[in-house]
Symmetry: C2
């Protein structure tokens, strides 16, 4: 499957099935929402500057602000306390991160703390296994939107994908997109668990279902973002969707490598290390 023509053929075959299925239904267009998910110009500028500069003096200088606007500052550990969430929110505002990415139980606190800032409260759904039934994922999404979430990071139904049940995968994503009422939905593929063909199918199905982003990893399933996966995902979804690199992004070098490969958003817990030129720890 290294032949680009074969890739195109597979994506087209999936797209044809999807179009057929959606003849009577339309996926709502994404309205203009607050966020940086499609800000290609500042992105390109940052990438051009940083990719060549980073590492010379250990920091990324002024461009770190542009970089910060691409980072979802993430705290998903199950044992995170109220104090942890409060700290992450304060950090996100201070450094100007795009968002704070948390579990839904912390949304009321985060929304309150981020009010009036440029930083969004975003959350995960069906996380991290992706194996909750579709109606439950949709209900969690509706509740998250009600509580003020500005973006939804859902996990694809990995088992259905691996069972070849593309209909279920598509409808699962579409139900969450619908429940998100126009807010951008990211589809986490958990790339570590997928074959190349499964990654391609998941990207094509995400795009067809109206997702705004595809995203590499949960940080809980082993493995993480690789430049190779980012490039493949970008190739399949084209220029219109966002691609988020998550899992193991811990330094400015990691960030630059992901952006160079096609990422438009980064998920990280080591966000401060990334924008200040340090080296973070942890799986996410």
């Amino acid at each position: 499957m290294s032949d680009p023509k074969e890739l195109d053929a597979l994506v087209e075959a999936i797209a044809a099935r999807v179009r057929e299925r959606m003849q009577q239904e339309t996926v709502p267009p994404l309205p203009g929402v607050r966020g940086t998910w499609n800000d290609q110009s500042s992105l390109k500028r940052w990438t051009q500057n940083v990719v060549s500069r980073v590492g010379s003096d250990g920091t990324v200088g002024k461009e770190s602000e542009g970089l910060a606007r691409m980072i979802d500052h993430t705290m998903l550990k199950p044992d995170a306390t109220r104090a942890d969430i409060e700290r992450v929110c304060r950090e996100a505002v201070e450094y100007g991160f795009a968002s704070v990415c948390i579990n839904t139980t912390w949304l009321p606190l985060a929304v309150q703390m981020l009010r009036g800032s440029r930083t969004m409260a975003i959350c995960v759904v069906g996380f991290p296994l992706g194996a909750a039934v579709t109606t439950a994922k949709a209900a969690e999404t509706r509740e998250a939107i009600r509580l003020g979430a500005e973006e939804i990071d859902m996990v694809v139904n990995i088992g259905a994908l691996k069972s070849g049940d593309h209909d279920l995968v598509l409808n699962d994503i579409r139900a969450v997109v619908k429940a998100a009422q126009g807010r951008p939905v990211k589809v986490i593929l958990e790339t570590k668990m997928l074959s190349r063909e499964e990654k391609i199918a998941a990207c094509a199905l995400s795009k067809a279902a109206g997702a705004a982003f595809v995203k590499t990893s949960t940080g809980f399933g082993g493995g993480g973002a690789t430049a190779e996966d980012i490039a493949l995902m970008r190739q399949v979804v084209g220029p219109d969707l966002g691609v988020k690199a998550s899992g193991g992004v811990r330094s400015a070098e990691d960030a630059a490598s992901m952006i160079k490969a096609g990422a438009t958003r980064l998920g990280a817990s080591a966000s401060i290390a990334i924008v200040t030129g340090g080296q973070g720890k942890g799986a996410y």
Copy 2:
């Protein structure tokens, strides 16, 4: 906190707060449902026979049937396929396990495959982080019951517990108990992440909220069931609730040790190894 009187005082303090909060509301009693969760007599018999016998000839003989009826045969991996779930259901019926424990996406398949057998289809909710907002856990539970789940294994809100927010922990469990409409609810504590005081509080709150079981581990959070934790949990909840040992239970010896410590249900993926005297692998 090794003094039993201190333990009693802590449990009583939590119970008093809970009673105060619930003055106007009542927790519905558990109706008689199909299952083995409160079958103390067959349990005691099995324990007495097996604890002394196991290991002499490598099998547990006739008593393995009683043991099988205590096991939730478990398949929670996110990349489990339709074929994996079908295999687990066939195994559960063949060996007479109490249930098949799966993610909610597989409930329709499992309910269909287990129809007419003694084996229940049960599922996890808010799994494995326990950090979904209460309304989402309740919605997932309602949907699971609608699809035919006979028991619900929910994860406690670990972050709220560690933040000392006992009200939220209690109400989270109560909402799931209510949504389960009389079906037994197990509360997974993820003991590895908790201090002794937090384990005690979680057990007291689970009991107060109307849960049918407390359970040690998700199998995804590191660590697993220990005899010490089982004994502590049994001490706090008393004789009326079930205690489920899960995570790392892989042999008849493991099973016997957990039952001796007070477990009335076992969660395992190595269930066949357990009842045939072998040694299983994997984290769950």
